[in-house]
Symmetry: none
Subunit: 182 residues, 4 copies
DNA sequence: AATGAATGAGTATTCATTCAT
DNA sequence: CATGAATGAATACTCATTCAT
């Protein structure tokens, strides 16, 4: 009878909403995997379902942006002089998110967004691989592609493990491949 | 209220049906993951939903048996003198199934069935690890637990990869860990 | 491949099976109501589903016979000189079964089996009502039909009560209607 | 995956929908009992399954509200000077609903909602019992608890009777307990 | 442009009924 | 004639997507 819009903060909040959705998506995808219910993301972001769909028409479009956000954080670290060990440490700390990220890239081979994400990651590795080999973070023979494979293994392995076992698994995983994070 | 069955091959087909369900489950779990719709399994096995539930009241009970079946095949190979390299090759060939298998074990830490599966796998590794080290399949320092970790990484990595990329990923994965399959 | 019939005691067990089904049905209907799953009855009777259906093609046909069995027990008591109070006491003791019984009769007004059951109950009441009035079990003005109504109320009331409250409800119910069981 | 909604009257209809669900639930529970299929309620209310679940996550939450609605109507009558006879007349007129209501309360002994409903009913009886005794609606010795028992018997009895027999059964039931509705 | 209610397809599970052995 | 496996309809519940406000 009297449909009082609860809290409609108007268009000014648009950018704010978008950021909240991206942040929430990153968290929820990391916790529940890429197939998490979208309303969980909307709820955590504190926005309506409609806003989520307006900003991100498909699940993937949201996932791409959410992970691009993650990647940007790593790129920033590298830009400030971060090492390969720093990069891999960040990957380790977000092993669950990394697994979802890798899965996303791997499963959309043709998609330009996926390729862009893949290229960003490759760029990060390329920029640090030499230093990594020099400092002994990775064995001498390691290529950039090998680092990607290593990340895929560790992230994928972590994604099928229980949360409480992840840290140990990740640590030993790097070791088995001759990777030393410091 | 008015069920109109199409075909009923009778109880004689019971064992056949059960085997078909186990086989179908192995395939579907490998293709779609542990959360695949159960009716996909029933349909592929060519049985009704009821038969699936009669044989396996829970999703996990089905998964356990499906993977126990897989493991038994590996155990048999070991019993006939198979090497660690043979074991890891079989794991590689069923990388997707292995990922679901590892996930199943990892996600049911207390469950006796899961622990039994884990124990079976551990037994297989234990029985072949010495030979594996001697023959250079794994590096000298590798423990049985390390082999399990390696499997977990490879299987998990494969699970987030596209089917067409799996083989290359798995092959390079073993190599990065110093494992040589032959 | 080798369908070994488990325990097929042959046709000799037919009567035995039928009796077991009737007994089980009485118990299950009393415990779970008239809509109880039929396989619960078959299981409790220790027979296959097929035997149940062979003997009783419909749920009602089974219910009719199961309750006729109950009624026969009461009739026997009356035949041996039982009083109205005895009858009502038996009804009280099986309040849950009585509710299912009353429901069965009430909901199949045209059915000859139901009418026969109703007639049996009426006969029992007719045979004892005079004595019941004389001895003060029921008030002077009570007709046989009134007793039926009273039973219907008590049984129906019990059927919607929790098991632990039934006894008190039934006792007070009789009292409110001026019925004294001793 | 491809939901094709037919009509969507929008959020403005929300209150209307909720009311329709409550009304439909009251009717369906009265007709088919507390275990009626929920989609029957959704269909009668003219809403989708989802709307039903959004408003009432569990069957009981729906039942509680539906019956609270019923009770509120009675409370209102009492507040306007209604007598015990009026109350019992309303119970009689909704005998089937009353049976479901009593069943709901009886079967959830610990539940606060159930206890609140029970308390509401008790309050109604308490508020009218004195007048009821004074005017001869109930016998002099009747307590409030006795009235509850009487309601339970009548409602329970009605619940196992055919619709066409209910009125007569209810009327005679009150009479047998010395209750006169006017 | 934001909200969140509405919709209904998809999936899980149960159980009445049939039928090969 | 007994058995119990097989079948699939019915029902419960979830969640992606749309749309009136």
């Amino acid at each position: 009878m009297s449909p009082t819009p609860r809290t409609n903060r108007g268009p000014a909040a648009a950018a704010e909403n978008r950021a909240a959705i991206i942040k929430a998506a990153g968290e929820v995808f990391a916790e529940q995997g890429l197939n998490a219910p979208l309303n969980a993301i909307a709820k955590r972001a504190g926005v309506g379902q409609g806003s989520l769909y307006r900003n991100f028409p498909t699940r993937q479009s949201l996932a791409f942006v959410a992970f691009a956000d993650n990647l940007a954080a790593i790129e920033e670290v590298v830009a400030r002089g971060g090492t390969l060990a720093d990069v891999l440490t960040m990957v380790s700390e977000q092993a669950a998110a990394s697994a979802a990220f890798i899965e996303l890239i791997a499963q959309h081979p043709g998609d330009p967004h996926a390729e862009q994400l893949g290229a960003s990651l490759a760029g990060i590795i390329d920029a640090t691989i030499e230093e990594g080999r020099a400092s002994g973070t990775v064995p001498a023979g390691f290529t950039a592609a090998d680092v990607i494979v290593a990340i895929q293994l560790v992230a994928g392995g972590a994604s099928v493990a229980l949360a409480r076992d992840r840290e140990a698994l990740v640590r030993r995983g790097w070791e088995l491949m001759g990777i030393r994070l410091g």
